[in-house]
Amino acid sequence: MSLDLSTYADLMRALSPESALTVGTLLVLMLVAWRHRTLTDLRLAGWATLVSLGVTAALVWWLWWNRTSVEGIAQMIAVDDFRFVTDWIFLGAAALTVLFSFRYLEREQLLAPEYYPLLLFAVLGMMFMGGGEDLMVIFLGLELMSISVYVLAGFNRKSPRAAEAALKYFLLGAFASAFLLYGIALMYGATGTTNLSFIGVQVQSLGLGHMPLFLIGVGLLLVGFGFKVAAVPFHMWAPDVYDGAPTPVTGFMATGVKAAAFAALFRVVIESLGGAGGWPVIIAGLAVATMVGGNLIALAQRSVKRMLAYSSVAHAGYLLVAVVSGGPGSAAFIFYLVAYGITTIAAFALLAAKGKGGESDVRIDDLSGLSTSRPWLAFALTVSMLSLLGFPGTAGFMGKWYILIGAVATGHTTLAIILVLTSVASAGYYLPVVMAMYMKPATHAEAHAGMVFDRIGRVTLAVAVAAMLWFGVAPGRLFELSRTSGASLRAAPAMADEPTPASTTETTSAR
């Protein structure tokens, strides 16, 4: 189905998932306003949230199934596979978070159902970031997402740590937004438009590749995104915020928020920058700093939550390598996000189950002997760690493999080598978790008595672990989906003086 976005009917069709989610969010909000006293109300809000997410995902599926595209250049919202698939990822991340939150909220006595509408608002923002065809739409999406997540980070009002995390996140996040907005303004000044495709056309036809105004704009934009994805050296907030936020929210931030920022970044660099603006060099530098920095600092962590926080910084570094690879990287990015998202949310959920009253105090050694008292949970956490490590047989490996192949194909062999070397270093902090669980005895008999999942959590965890293994062994379908959605990004016209690497297009057909 081909849409003409200048007609209202088609515009509504194109926006149907977002509209549905908006309506759903408002309904959940109303529900919460009426019923917010008992545990049952909390559960009801959770299920209503899942229904909204499900309906939205179905609408995205409907657009995808009909191979919806748009005539000419989209003005505000993209209608391509990249948007659909990233939408699914955001919705999936939120759904997993909700499923793992049921027990967590009850256990931590966070009996405030506002949690769920906030989550939904954040997802709505993410969807606009992943689908925005205009810098303004992306910015609005980013703000909607960020403000919701600021609140979620400080959701545990009783914890001073959470308050600190939220305040820190808010202050630094506001700075980053300002950078981003300033970058957008300068780019608008240079090109006269905020539409991604038009920027690409303008840059090429006016030869803006070396214009200072434009370059500074690109630089500021990258700073803004670098902050949101927690790339070194803009990562300072991440560990504290991840540490202080409620654990399911941390999982959501490490996957959904990061995914949305990356999705927008991919769209911007591929659709409007092409080879202009010197961004590949900047991103490559950020990637190296992030991979090395994230992994090395993670090595020094003893608290599981902080370790996972820095590990998520390191993974942002791997994803930045995908950004540098451009076209093939966007396909790798999709696959990686699915693999990494499932794994990370599961790992944080396991941590949430282990800890009590602020899990930040769960040290790696506190997991000692888990394999004897809770063999299946130990197995699940082992698979998660191996998947994060990128070990063959797990989804994480296929994701890393995809990034590597894109990097080597586009001639970034050095980045690929740094990626694998830092991955070796990462074994130094993922394996101790496994080691503690299997090779050290429990400190006392009741050490893991409190680590329990409710039935929903157990089923979700089982499905997540199965998915990690399944995509590690039979990734074919997901690869295909990643490739088509990555290829659906409309590349910016090639620059006369700075041709886009020929290999970019070549490897897209490389299969």
């Binding site: 004897t372 191996l386 070990f391 063959p392 047989g393 493999w401 590597l404 192949i405 080597v408 194909a409 062999t413 690929a416 080598i417 694998v420 070397l421 991955s423 070796v424 074994a427 130094g428 394996l431 080691m435 299997y438 090779m439 050290k440 990734p475 074919g476 690869f479 295909e480 490739r483 070549e506 490389a510 299969r511």
Partner: protein, 501 residues
Amino acid sequence: MNYETWVLPALLGWPLAGAALLYLAPASRSKVLALAVSLIEFGISVPLWWRFVPAGGMQFAVDWAWIPYWGIRFHLALDGISLFMVLLTTFLVPLSVLGSWTYITKRERGFYALLLVLTTGMLGVFLSLDLFLFYVMWEVMLIPMYFIIGIWGGDNRIYAAIKFFLYTFLGSLLMLVAILGLYLHAAKSTGVYSFDYDSLLRYNMNLGPAAFWFFAAFFLAFAIKVPMFPLHTWLPDAHVEAPTAGSVILAGVLLKMGTYGFLRFALPFFPGVALSPVVQSVVVTLSVIGIIYGGLVAMVQPDFKKLVAYSSVAHLGFVMLGIWALTLQSVQGALLVMINHGISTGALFFLAGMLYERRHTRLLDAFGGLARVVPFLAAALTIVSLSSVGLPGTNGFVGEFLILIGAFKTYPVAAVIATAGVIVAAMYLLPALQKIIYTPLTKPENQKLRDLSARELIVLAPLLAAIIWIGVYPRPFLSRMEPAAQHLIETVRLQAPAALR
């Protein structure tokens, strides 16, 4: 369905199914079940010995699409090089199960399940003819071994396990980048995206300067595994800390994966680099250093297991020398030493385990005069030690002798120095033997040891039989590996000058 088409997938699938089976049965039955599974696995592999056609090149092939997206296939096949590695593996696994019978007392089910998963990984490495599949198998076998060392190992097990893991992981990830580079390099000029062994092999002439870096990455991965001289430091820790079965499998099979990698991938893929003067002299020097150094260090070890571990460094030095000398005798000798080392060192580790179970120490000085107390054990230890030293009439002699004759043609000096390594071997193993079984029986703890049980005899008997068989009549082995070795030498020798230009 005839045997030729199902045997290789069955060899990979059966142990995995067996591991799952272990979890369905009661935990108390684990070891019996594991023994049955591994014996059936051996049974599946035995007919390979007769069905194998020496001149037939790659046989028993299966070639299924796995990830068509990148031209990754599930391609298994077997030739005269991998045949023996497969048989060695399936032969050692049931013995390891039997050898762990009383040694492993905690969490038996997990141990045997991991051992079976490990079997699949090892066989996969020897059978894969798709580089991606090979890489996956190469890594997959790491995890079970990591757990086997880390959970059931000695006092320092956690350190040994992570060291083992990190060394191998580092090498293999760089190899992954090289595999990728090779794949893309070939694809760029041929337009065919494939990880298939043959199609990448056909392309190997046109790599240009990249060949050196690819070779270096493969070299590092394999040299760590062998292990070659300066990269061997993980080995003593891992061998000593691992439980008996772990040591046996480590020495018997895992080390061979490195030398197998050289024979199957590094040499045929990059003949020009491998035979360039610099690389040749480096490899040969390191091999000879490994032979002498391994022997000298073994000489001063107070711990029997550590002694055997260092002797592995020396033996594998012989193998590397034989491979690089690239004459028919030396390559056949190298293959034979790979088998022999699996059998003899495997047997030595079993014996070390048996001694440990009796005395709870592995220190040589703690024993003495065992020949009077446990004559059968002493006899077995003597035969195995002599085979490891390379006494004529045992398997050790045939292999090392072939290597030395073959290598003398290519590297006379290195061969002469390596010959001294045989003497060094006598200098570390015979005194150890003496200390354990021949010196006067002074220690009271040693006076009431029991001799080999029936189970232990069953473990050792096949190994002893193999030692004598190969020592007296190696012909069936040599004739089966000859065409493959010949083929390898021709490919490498013919292409090396072309690639050097």
